[in-house]
Structures are given as C-alpha cells and as structure tokens.
Subunit: 467 residues, 3 copies
C-alpha cells in the first residue's frame, strides 16, 4: 500500500501537476492517468528496441570482419565504429530534419535540424523517436561498408558515410515515412507498404553498396587474368556467425519496434520475423547443398539475414504462414544473387548487395503479394513504384557521389596498400599481433608486437620518439 502511494506520487511529479483522483476530476482524470501509463510503456518499448537495433552495429561489424581477411580487420572495426559515430552526429545535425521535419512538398523536411525545435520544453516523444530513427539511419549506412571492404580509402569512406546519413537515406525516408512525426511523403501518399524498411533501410543500403562495389572494382586477386573467379575466404567464421546471431537479436527490435508503441501487434511481428529468418537459413542451406555438394556456412548465414530482410516490409501485414514463404524465397534468392554478382564481376565480400538490396526488393513485393487484407494490381503497382524509386534515387546519388570522391580525394587505396592490408597502411595497426598469420599477397607473415620494437602501430613509433 505504501508503495502504491509512492508510485502515485511519482506519477504526479512526472506530470508536474496535481493528481485528481476518482471523485475530483480537475487536473488528471483517471482517463488521462491511464493514457500516461500507456505512454510510459510506449517509451520503454521504443527505446528498448532502439538498443536492440543499435546492437546490430556490433553484428554488422562481426559479420564483415569474419567474412574478410585478417589483414583488414582493424580497418573494418574503424569503419563500423565511425559510420555509427559520424552517422549519429550528421543525422542529428541534418538528416533527422530532412526526414521528419515539416515538409510542404512531400520530398523533404525543413525543420528540426540539431533537434533545435525540440529541446527544452518540447515534447519528449521527439527524443525517443529520434533515438529509434538514428539507429535505423546508421543501419542503412553500415550495410554499404561490407560491399566496399578491403580496398576503400578510410577518408573516402568517412565522407561517403556522412552523406548517406545526412542526405541519401533521410530524403528517401521522408518519401515513405515522413508523416510518422510531422512531415508527409509522396510515396506513402500512394499507399506504399514498407512497415520496418525492407526498401527504406535495406534496399537503400544495398543499392548504395552496389554503386560502391561498381565504382571500386573487384579486390585484387578476386579474378584471374583470364576472368575466372578466385574465392577469397573470410578469416573467422565463428565471429561471422556471432554477428548473424546478434543481427537476428537486433531484428527483434527493428521490426516489432517499428510500431513505436507497446501494443498487442508486436506479437505477430515477432513470430513473422523469426519464422522468415529460420526459413531463409534452411532454404539457403539446402540450395547451397544442391549447388556445391555440401551445406555451405557463408550461404546459410546469409540465408538467415535474407529471410530477415525479406520479412521487414511485410512483418505487420502478412500471416505467419506467409512469413515462412517470404523467408524461404529470400533464402533461395540470396544464393543465386550472390553467384550472379560474382559472375558479373561485381565483388561484394559479404554479399550485402544480395542480402539487403535484392532481398529488400523481394520483401517489399512480398508484402504486397501476401498482404493480410488482400492484394490487388494497384497494391502491387505501388510496391513496384516504391522499389523502383528507391533504386533510381539511391543508385544514382551514390554512384555520382562515389565518382566525385574518386575524382577528387580518391576512393581506392593503391595496389601495394591493398596487398599489405589496410590495417597497417591506413591505421598503422595490426588486429592479431600475437598470432602467426598468412598474408594473402602470398607468403607467411609473422605477427608483430610483443617486445615492441617490431610493431607497426603508428602511435607507437611517435610515442617512442617522444621520450
């Protein structure tokens, strides 16, 4: 009983208003108090989901590092740390306002930069909403990192990633989701279905990744002179698998959290998300088994991700049975897509274009086909318009941006740097100095470190000279 009164008191305080009670409904009626408690649940739910989506950054970092070579692992950690950190700052300064600010045209918003219109005295919901959206923006940015791994200049990557979170992602996002806060978008006006972002987040990332991989060209050694594919293996499969499990965890924030409200709807979204991921993994394993003679781990892991990307658009408006089908098809699709891009000499070390671009498009179409309220030619047309608009906008913008970067500051490291590894040349570091590693340019390279003299860490040398 005593505790109940403490809670009552805290309710009152959090309102900065007097509590009314049953019989004197002056300031806070029971109806208002119930709504307040529900709103607290909405805050908790949305922000816990934001934590899960943030955790996906660790997942992406582990998947990308695990599927690439040891000599570039430091660079990959730096890219993943920085696309979130710089993404946070640029989405705060510019992106959020473009995406969710008041919009007269339906093409981008023009208020809310630096959260300036919202800070003191404003509705705190804007802050909760911002937190949920910033982790989405960073997801779109980090997807690109994988396809451009092992050969991109770090400075070029920083410039690019700031542009994605400040401009490319938010402007497309405003077309489909702008009205979630106080804007409005032309695409949602048509009735476009993309509940949690198969297109808005994943295809944006995937098509930008495609542009990046095309402008960069393949990694040295990926193709022989006569054009045959030479596989480049990832250096740490348990790390990659951990990354996939973490991404699966994060998706339970990504999809159900997109309600941004604690309602019963989240249950079906959870079930759909999980079923599609499972079906994607199983089918990708089976297809890889049929094609290669053995169940391949990289394809199976990507199959789970494909299923997750696929169900993202329709997770709130298809049945669990349809979720299994959507995920299964995504799992099949991803294997053929990876092989296709490899064959046409677009080198994507982690399969990001296939997982996020291709399966994002499939999922958006699937959300129309399996729509719980029935489908129609109109619905499918709108879904196709959205898919196409995303491809045109993102690919064109990203391709132009990469070309400009390439012409000015340079997009790709030199051949010597690529062979030595980006860890040493870009960061003066070494991810595994205590282990004997095999340098992929050919010979064996013993680790460095230990007694110190042989280290290649940039700061070590400087330090040693200081004292």
């Amino acid at each position: 009983m005593k505790y109940i009164w403490m809670i009552l008191l805290s309710l009152i305080c959090s309102m900065s208003a007097a509590w009314a009670g049953d019989d004197t409904p002056t300031v806070l009626t029971n109806k208002d108090a119930i709504a307040l408690v529900q709103s607290h649940a909405d805050y908790v739910w949305t922000l816990v989901c934001a934590v899960l989506v943030f955790f996906m950054q660790a997942g992406f970092a582990m998947v990308e590092a695990g599927f690439t070579r040891a000599k570039n692992a430091v660079n990959i950690m730096m890219k993943n740390l920085m696309d979130f950190s710089m993404g946070t700052i640029s989405f705060w300064a510019i992106g959020f306002g473009l995406m969710f600010g008041a919009s007269k045209t339906g093409f981008f918003g023009t208020t809310g930069f630096f959260l300036s219109d919202f800070e003191i005295g404003g509705d705190p919901w804007v802050l909760a909403f911002w937190m949920f959206q910033v982790v989405f923006a960073a997801t779109a940015a980090t997807i690109v990192s994988g396809a451009m791994a092992e050969r991109t200049k770090f400075t070029a990557y920083l410039v690019y990633t700031a542009c994605v979170t400040a401009l490319i992602y938010p402007i497309f996002g405003s077309w489909a989701w702008g009205s979630l806060l106080n804007g409005s978008g032309w695409l949602e006006g048509l009735g476009f279905i993309d509940f949690a972002g198969s297109t808005v987040v994943h295809s944006v990332g995937g098509w930008a990744a495609l542009a990046g991989a095309m402008v960069l060209g393949p990694r040295l050694g990926k193709y022989t002179k006569d054009g045959r594919i030479k596989p480049i293996l990832g250096h740490n499969i348990p790390l990659a698998a951990l990354g996939v499990f973490i991404l699966w965890v994060g998706w339970f924030g990504f999809n159900p959290g997109s309600t941004t409200a604690a309602t019963k709807d989240i249950a079906m979204i959870f079930v759909n998300t999980n079923l599609a991921a499972a079906a994607g993994a199983v089918l990708a394993m089976i297809v890889s088994w049929m094609k290669f003679g053995k169940p391949e781990v990289g394809m199976s892991l990507n199959g789970a991700l494909a299923g997750l990307v696929g169900i993202t658009a329709g997770c709130a408006n298809v049945t669990p049975g349809s979720a299994v089908i959507i995920g299964a098809i995504a799992g099949i699709l991803v294997v053929f897509s990876v092989l296709f891009f490899e064959r046409v000499k677009i080198d994507d070390p982690v399969g990001a274009i296939s997982v996020h671009g291709v399966c994002g498009a499939w999922g958006t179409l699937g959300a129309g086909i399996f729509n719980i309220g029935g489908t129609s030619l109109k619905i499918l047309s709108v879904q196709c318009i959205g898919i196409l608009a995303c491809f045109v906008w993102t690919f064109a913008m990203a391709y132009a941006l990469f070309k400009i970067i390439d012409a000015t500051m340079g997009l790709r490291v030199s051949a010597e740097e690529e062979l030595e590894g980006l860890d040493a040349t870009e960061h003066g570091g070494n991810a595994y100095p205590d282990f004997t590693t095999i340098n992929h340019s050919g010979g064996y390279s013993g680790g460095t470190g230990g007694t110190g003299e042989e280290t290649s860490a940039a700061y070590s040398t400087k330090l040693a000279n200081q004292t």
Copy 2:
C-alpha cells in the same frame, strides 16, 4: 496534453472500439482500459524476454566452439544455426500443438499445429506465447549439440534436432506445462514444481545429450589404448567466456520471463538467478583449485552455468539465501560430475550432460527442498517422480532415435573425416584460413585461402569451374 490524447486515440484504435470514459461506461470502462495497459506490459515483458532467450543460441554456439577444436568450428556454427532454424519450423508445424494444444489425455495436445487455429482473428496472446516457447524448445535442442561435438554427421544431427523440437521436448513439456495455454498435463496435476525448466528444458537436453554421447562413443584420441584420459583442449577460451556471459544474460529472460506477465514477482526471480550463478562460479572455481592445484577456467565457467541451471526450477519459490545454497551445490556438483563422466568414458566435450542433466535434476530437487512455502515428503516425492519421468522418457526416446539413425544413415563420421576435421569434410569450409593452426591429428597445417587456389571451400571449387 496533446500527447495524452494521441495515446488515448491509439488505445482506442488498438481496440477497434470506441472509448467510453469515466461517465459513460458503455464500451471500454476505465477498468477495461487499465487491464489493457497491463496486458500491453505483459506482451512487452514476455517478448523482450524471448529476445534474451534467443540470444542464448549465440551463447551456446560460442561456448561449444570455444571448448572444442578449431578444425570443427564451422560445423559447430552450422549445427547451432540449424538447430534453431529447423527447430523453429518444426516447433511451429508440430511441437507447439503437441505441447500446448488442447489435450484430453494429459499426455499431449492435438490442436494448434502450424499455429492454424490461432492466425487471423485469434487471440494475439497465443503468438506472444508461441514466441516465448519456441526459444525454449530450441534451447533444449541445442544443449545436445555440445555433447555430440566433433564427431557427429551433419545430416544425422539435422534429423535428430528436428525430432527433439517436434516430439521429444514438446511431449514431455506437455506433461509439466501443458496447462499454461489450454492443455493439461499429468505431472503438473501432481503438483510438480519446475518454474522455468530445470527439468523440462535442461534435463531433457542433458539426458538426450547423454544418450547421444553414449551411442557415438568418445572422440578419437580422448583415451589412450590403455584407457587413460587424454585431455582435448578447447581452442578459444575468450570465445567460450563470452558465450557464458551471453548465456547469463539470456537467463535473465529465461527465468523471470517464465512469469509471462509483468508483475512484481520478477524481482525475486532476478535476484535468485544472479545469486545462484555467482555462487556456482565461485564454488566450482574453489573445487577445481582444490582438486587440480590451480583455479581452472573451464570448470569455473561451467560452474556459473551449473548455478543457473540449478536455480531454474525454484527461482520463483525459494528465498535469495536458498538460491545461494542451490547455486553453490550445483557448482560443486558439476566438477565431480564432469570428472565422473570422463572417467566412465562418456566423452562430453563441453560438459553438457553434467551442467544441464545432472544440475537440472539437482535444481528440481532443490526447488522442493527449499520451497518458500515449506517442504514435505509428498513434495519431494513428486519432484523425484518428475525427475525420473524426464530421465526415462528422454533417455529412452533419444537412445532409440540415435540407434535408428546410426543403423540407417549413420550417426558418426569416419575416422579419417574426424581427424581431418568436420569443417573441411562436412562443409568444405575452414573457420580460420588466415591463421597457422595446429591440426590435432598431429602435424602443423597451414591455413588455406588467400589467393584462392588452395582453398577447400566447396562452393569455391564449383564456382571456379563455372566461369
């Protein structure tokens, strides 16, 4: 104020019904609205806990990989990915209906397969409940993986794991927990206490693991010809430790989440879970120190897990002081149990039988002994009946299943394959191609990969031949 009205509006929408208010209690009274908000909190709580329990899959994968050899790490990732993925599909199709469907006999349910009775228009709670239960079913399945590591055929594992989640686990589960949804079980009818599944989940996994390890026989090189034990070390202790931390995190969903309701009861369950884990780790360290002369890391890590398994049955009905005792005894027990099974030539690479089987049984007994409402001979008898029923059902079913698999498709890989490692032979992969590793069949084996020609990845070879 504006926001409160938005929330009110969303409440109304989520009910698809008009809001009544204080003075016109026609459709949704305040009492109903309060119950609705509470139910939203229950959904959030149950589903967030499902995420935590799902995360345990990553924990199990890391523990199993860390405690075994580098040459089998890809295989372990595939097994852990697939026991969850196939488990999801088979629990959706069959297991959930057997466990929680309407049951006339008290021995298994007969409705709810494919979630078919629940989909559109049904109570969404069933979906939330399914999500929480599917991650439990997959936990039981994945426990088995560790005890059978490094020598089991991948195809055989797939068949087996589908059977656990479709049949063995759900049928026993229906005896103890069937009434949670709409069934009823003979064991709970007796008053069996197993709040979160020391027996229902962990002992089922542990005894199936025992059957598997017995049918398989020990790994090559585990015992000398004259019968002496030759330890086989795990290849990555930080990964194993990360796995244990993740499992500990997940257990905060596993135990308190078993309330499936946001109530004050979760607080004591949290405290008990944490205290038992801590006591288990400390005691296992002390015992290993006394027995081996040094504080051993594998035993200490397993001690934490032993404490967690031990408190799972009684977490809601013992005091924190009792939780410390239950965890401490589990921590002592696990060391002696691991040594016992090693001595009787049952080779369990990660200690799964001891952690989950033995400590699961102990925890179930402990829940009776330390029952907060007092204990009695009747309570203890029922606990023993449950423990025994679990052992008989699970061990017999699993043993028969493994024998059938062995006689038909084969359960164990060939000696040559085992020596080479399952990564190469079962999956055409290599977990660490950039590192120089030591092949446990004796000599040194340089990593492969890099320039590509020397890779053993199945899909690489196929690929190379395509172009």
Copy 3:
C-alpha cells in the same frame, strides 16, 4: 474481452486482494490499479536495464582481453568472471547494507546485510533495486582489472575485488546515493549532481585502478632501460571492438535505467548518452590522427567509452547539444591522458585510468557547467568537492589495500611467470592451443593441446594420473 478478464484476474491475484471496480471502491480503486500498472512498468524497466548493465561485464572482458596479449587471456576471463561472481556475493552480504541501509551518520548504512530485512513479506521493490545496484557495484570493480592486467597475482585480485564491492565502492556510494532507498549521504545533502555515476562508479573504479597500477609498477618490457616507451600491442582488435559495442549497449541501461522508473525522462537520457559517445569517438579519432599521422583504433574505441563515461553524471540534466560538447571534450581528453600516464610510467594496458578516472571527473564537472537549470559557483564547488572526495577516499583506501596485499600475500607474479604468461602459470591453461602464437618474451611458441600429452592444463595432468 475474455483476455481482459484474465488480466484483471491476474492483477487481483498479484495484489492478493479483491478488485473493486468503478462503482464499489472498497479495496483496489482505479487510482490504485493505475499506480500498480505503472509500478509493474517500473519493475520491467529497471530490471531490463539491469540486464543491459550486466552485459557490460562481457564488454569489459572483451575489451581487456583484446587490448592485452594472448598469453594472459585465460587469466583475464577468470578475473572478469570472478569479480562479478565474488562481487555479487560480497555486495549481497555486506556492500548493499553499507550503501543503502538506514544510516544515522550519512557516512554508511547499517541494515540490510544479506538482504535479511527484506526477504519474505518485504517490499519486492528492494529486490529489483538490489539487482540494479549489484551490477553497478561490479562495474566499479571490473574497471580496476584492466589497469592491473598481465602482472597481478590471481589470489591478490580476488581479495582486492571482494573489498571493492564490499567496502570501498558502497561507502562512497552511500555518500552520494544513499537516500535512494532509505539512507542518506552527506554529499547528496550538499546538492552533488551525479545522476548515473561518472564519479560514484567510474571514478571510483578509475582511481582504484590508478592505485593498483602504481603499486604494481609497469609490465616487463613496457619501458627500455633508458626509459623509452615500448608499446605492447593488444592481441585481438575485433574482440576489443566487440567489447566497446557491448559496453555502448550496456550504457543504454546504465544511464537511462538510473531513473529506476518508466517515465518520459528516459528519452533525453538516451539521446544524450548516444550523442556523447559518438562525439567522443569522432574527436578521439581526429586527435589521434593529428598526433600520430593515422586514425588509431585503440584511441578511437576508448574515445567512445570516454564520451560515455563523461555523460554519465549529467545525462539527465544537460541538453543534447551540451552532451555533444561533453562527449567531444572527453574524447580529446582521453588521448592526452593516456599519453600522460604512459609518459609518467604508470602502465595501464587498457587506458582504464584515463577513460574512467579522468573522464569521470570531467563528466562530473561538466554536469555542473552545462546544468539545464543553470549553473553557479556553488554548484561547481559542490561538484569539485564530490570529485575530490572520491579521489581522496578511493585512492587512499585502494593504495593502502594494495600495499597491505603486497606486503602479505604478494600482489605481483614473478618475472618468470609474467614472461611465460599468467594463463599457464596461474591457471594451467592456454587460451588458444590450436593456433601458433608468438610468445612476447621473444621466441615463437607453438600452441599446445590436441593429442593431449603436451597440454599444460592443470586439471589435465591430474586427470591423467587418476586413471
């Protein structure tokens, strides 16, 4: 509708009281029922945040292991497992009572040891609160581990860590936070602002780490005979980066969870926490780039942590714009601080003193400077008193404790043991037996394990002799 009545029923049960309804307000009025639902949300929020903070233990373990050498990784896992496990037991037995028990003096509490006053029949909130506090206490303890890595006796570490969680941390904590439950503290009486513990948790850990590093002295090989710095590289950068991502995740429990109530306030705390971390990472990268010529990964990762520590004190009472500034300054500060301590020959392998001690002090000052309600000389003075009190209490107590340990049982391992690595000498283990590692005492050391005879695991030898 049926479900609503189930919920109502569960509400009633959880109250062990009859439900009153709108028209017969005898036992549980609507007002009471609303307060009860809100309190359930508070429990869920506080305990979910406790899970996130617990997860930080995994983060600290990965950061410490990643930034140190392979030959000490087992020891680091054991330290991190044990500081939480022993910390849990000692905080339960002693620490919690000292920190939050009833206090007449304002200097420490004297009730609540072993949770004895709270167990059966008590307010369950105490248990939820304990759970949130025990993970904080363990955080303070584990910070010390990093600064003392690679040369501390394991037994000495166990003694020390129990004292931190039982005495050093709780007594200081009672000065600043004692009144949160039922005590009172002299520092909070002055108006000291430290919302989530920049000083109470992080500086306590950091200054104890300083004392430890000073009493221990630098690692062998860290400085040449003529006093030049010889860098000792960390052995696994992806693991360290994973640790930083996990810590960032955990901080979303650490800071917003410190409300211990589900209110709208958590939104701004989330945003501030994230912005400060991002700004810290970006600025540390820039500064390291300017000083060393390349963007250094260790500094950048520590920059994110510095930003997080910095915003911990003020997260609830500064604007998002101020959070960016606080984080940015922390990111700059941490680079100069790490270099300073390295130059004055205080060897801190992971930068714990700088990240937690120095940036904790800065954040506490920053909370006064950027206070949302305005600042004043009085506020700043009180902040300085708190910072100073923390330094004097913690450094003096920890220094004395380490000196006593050193004089009695010994604090540091022998030079031979340090060169061989603590894994073998303290634990009879080997973190990576399947890999060829480089022994930092000079030559190459092949991994051990495999066929078993060559293993150094303590328990293996014993085992082999038993049979």
